[in-house]
């Protein structure tokens, strides 16, 4: 940018290339956007799309968020089985986020007062998983976590 901007040429000589560049970019980016959008439709995280991909849930876990802890109906879960987390909230907005033991975020859904959001997830392997709240919910937000134990049962 610095080098090319110092050399002056008449602007009208550039208008043709600029228009062509715009058209190429418009076409290229439009195609990329449409393809990307189409691909995302295959891997949406919403309950009906995940059910279609991984099958109906075999285990249902009720997860209720409250300042600043999670109340879970069970903590020991099977690996490689579709599990539905029915996530709600008793007070403010929370976010039920599952982390693996390496600290990688795997999936999340909001826990909202007055609503129950269902997150379908299949744990790929046994191990300890951490649930953190990712929606800011007050002064104890960063302490709001719990663990899940996934087994090969």
């Amino acid at each position: 940018m610095l080098v090319q901007s110092r050399r002056a040429v008449p602007f009208d000589r550039l208008e043709g290339p600029e228009t062509r560049l715009r058209l190429v970019l418009l076409g290229g980016l439009a195609v990329v956007s449409i393809v990307l959008f189409g691909l995302t439709l295959r891997s949406l995280p919403f309950p009906h799309t995940r059910t279609a991909r991984v099958g109906a849930p075999q285990v249902v876990v009720d997860a209720m968020g409250m300042q600043w802890s999670w109340l879970l109906s069970r903590r020991e879960l099977p690996a490689r089985v579709p599990i539905a987390f029915a996530v709600g909230s008793r007070d403010v907005n929370h976010d039920f986020a599952i982390y693996d033991s390496t600290g990688r975020l795997l999936a999340q859904v909001q826990g909202m007062p007055g609503y129950t959001n269902r997150l379908l997830y299949v744990f790929p392997r046994a191990g300890e998983y951490t649930v953190r709240c990712l929606e800011y919910c007050g002064l104890g937000h960063h302490t709001m976590s719990t663990t899940l134990t996934v087994t090969d049962r």
Partner: protein, 501 residues
């Protein structure tokens, strides 16, 4: 005052009349906004030091500071942007300086309420004031929640007044709003040029004024039920309704900052590229498209709310992709083409403009990734989100705002910039890029946002970021000192002017 081949569109003075009173109000907006931004930036440094484990702040204070930093920064950047756009349209549009000052006072009263609510009232509900947290904070009072609602309402009212005034003035000067939006030219695919076309910055000002009015209205729709609930007039507010409207308000305001300041690129970059940037059909089409698209893309913040209607979820992704196309293809490519082989005159202002263009590109790429639903599933509410909007702000909207203030001072003040100011501007870019890069790395490693306490394995990102934030602060101190020493003569020039360039 001229710059060789500077096109008239780049000038600040109104031909044949004085717009010095509007320029003074504009300078007040920009200086207030950018000075507040510096203070809010220092609060950001405090938070990053805490997350790096280099300075321990109690969670109580961390979240207060976080709330003030977020709300204050958004309000500051938008204020500076509003000042810039008022100055940029003032040569050809008769704005009322009195109305500008009234809007500024109301806007700043709102900011005063926010400062009181957080620092005195202990409010720490986050800048999003996401219902019902403000009323269920457990440690702050309902009074401080009401104070922050009042603050937001005043900010929305100040923005509303500014935008209405802008729209009315533009409609008057062009003989109607549709002419200010160049609709006859647009819908004839550029063939019908019977109407005098607005300058790009005027069309952009009309676009953002329309969306600004929509955003302020969304803010009122969000806040009025909350006041009603606090007064026991209604028992509760639907959480999903509240989330939609607070994001339509807040996200659109944050978006407005970048789009308003992009208008400043059209207004001032020609002075440095020494080429005109007239209204063309792609520019008219792109900016008219921004009107609906800017109001749609907030929905990508609700992907994790599975209760949100499915169509709105898809619209969030489509709208986010769609809004990127006109911005990138028309404004960014247009600006780069304007600079390409132009014999560009490099100064602090034009360096800021160049940084802002690249910041917009990279911030946009980060935003597009996050707006892709399956990616968002593992990125939402991590520091990736923080990374993309800091890129938009620090290396986008703020860079453009600093550029335009530098341009104004350069135009108005006879005092030359100090030596080394160009280097300081480049250092701003280096500091900003390093600071933001560590947010991106943190987000890619799933580090959550809005955590007062970071795990030891996350602190390394903050430790690397801190020196870059310090560099950013030092460069801004240098640039502010330079502009500050020339501001008095710039202000005087607006008083002495006969209004003829």
């Amino acid at each position: 005052m001229t710059y060789g081949d500077v096109p008239p569109s780049a000038m600040l003075w109104a031909p044949g009349r004085s717009n010095g009173d509007v320029l003074r109000a504009s300078l007040a907006y920009m200086v207030t906004g950018l000075a507040s931004m510096l203070l809010m930036g220092l609060l950001g440094l405090l938070m990053r030091l805490d997350q790096a484990g280099m300075l321990i702040i109690s969670p109580t204070w961390f979240y207060r500071v976080m709330t003030l930093h977020g709300s204050g920064m958004i309000a500051s950047v938008l204020l500076a942007a509003m000042g810039g756009i008022a100055a940029a349209v003032s040569p050809t549009t008769r704005l009322s300086a009195r109305a500008l000052w009234i809007a500024l006072v109301i806007y700043m009263m709102g900011n005063g309420f926010v400062v009181l609510a957080t620092l005195v009232g202990g409010f720490a509900g986050g800048w999003t004031v996401l219902y019902p947290l403000p009323e269920h904070g457990l440690v702050w009072s309902l009074g401080s929640a009401l104070a922050i609602y009042a603050g937001y309402l005043f900010v929305a009212l100040g923005l509303f007044l500014f935008c209405v005034q802008m729209l009315v003035a533009l409609a008057r000067s062009h003989g109607g709003l549709t002419k200010a939006l160049a609709w006859r030219f647009l819908f004839s695919f550029g063939r019908d040029t019977r109407d005098a076309l607005p300058r790009p910055v005027e069309l952009i000002a009309a676009v953002i004024a329309i969306d600004g009015i929509a955003a302020a209205t969304a803010g009122a729709i969000y806040l009025i039920p909350l006041f009603a609930q606090a007064s026991h007039l209604i028992t509760s507010v639907d959480a999903l309704f509240a989330k939609n409207f607070v994001l339509l308000f807040g996200h659109t305001i944050a978006n407005l900052s970048i789009y308003v300041t992009a208008g400043l690129v059209y207004a001032a970059l020609p002075a440095y590229a020494k080429r005109a940037w007239p209204l063309t059909w792609p520019v008219a089409a792109a900016w008219n498209l921004i009107i609906p698209l800017m109001l749609l893309n907030y929905s990508h913040h609700l992907y994790a709310d599975f209760a949100q209607p499915f169509a709105l979820q898809l619209l969030g992704e489509i709208g986010s992709y769609a809004v990127a196309l006109p911005s990138f293809i028309v404004t960014i490519i247009g600006a780069l083409a304007l600079m390409y082989r132009s014999g560009m005159r490099w100064s602090s202002a034009s360096i800021f403009f160049a940084l802002g263009l690249w910041g917009w590109v990279f911030g946009g790429m980060g935003a597009l990734l996050d707006a892709t639903i399956p990616v968002n599933q593992v990125m939402h509410n991590t520091l990736w989100v923080v990374a993309h909007f800091h890129t938009y702000f620090v290396l986008g909207a703020l860079a453009f705002a600093w550029a335009y203030l530098s341009y104004m001072v350069e135009m108005l003040s006879p005092v030359a910039a100090h030596r080394g100011i160009d280097a300081a501007t480049w250092l701003y870019g280096v500091g900003g890029a390093g600071f933001i890069l560590m947010f991106f790395v943190s987000g890619a490693n799933s580090v959550p946002r809005r955590f007062a306490v970071h795990l030891p394995q996350w602190q390394i990102y903050g430790r690397i970021a801190v020196p870059f934030v310090v560099l950013l602060a030092l460069s801004l101190a240098w640039i502010s000192w330079d502009l500050g020493t020339r501001m008095r003569s710039a202000w005087r020039a607006t008083l002495d002017s006969s209004g003829v360039s």
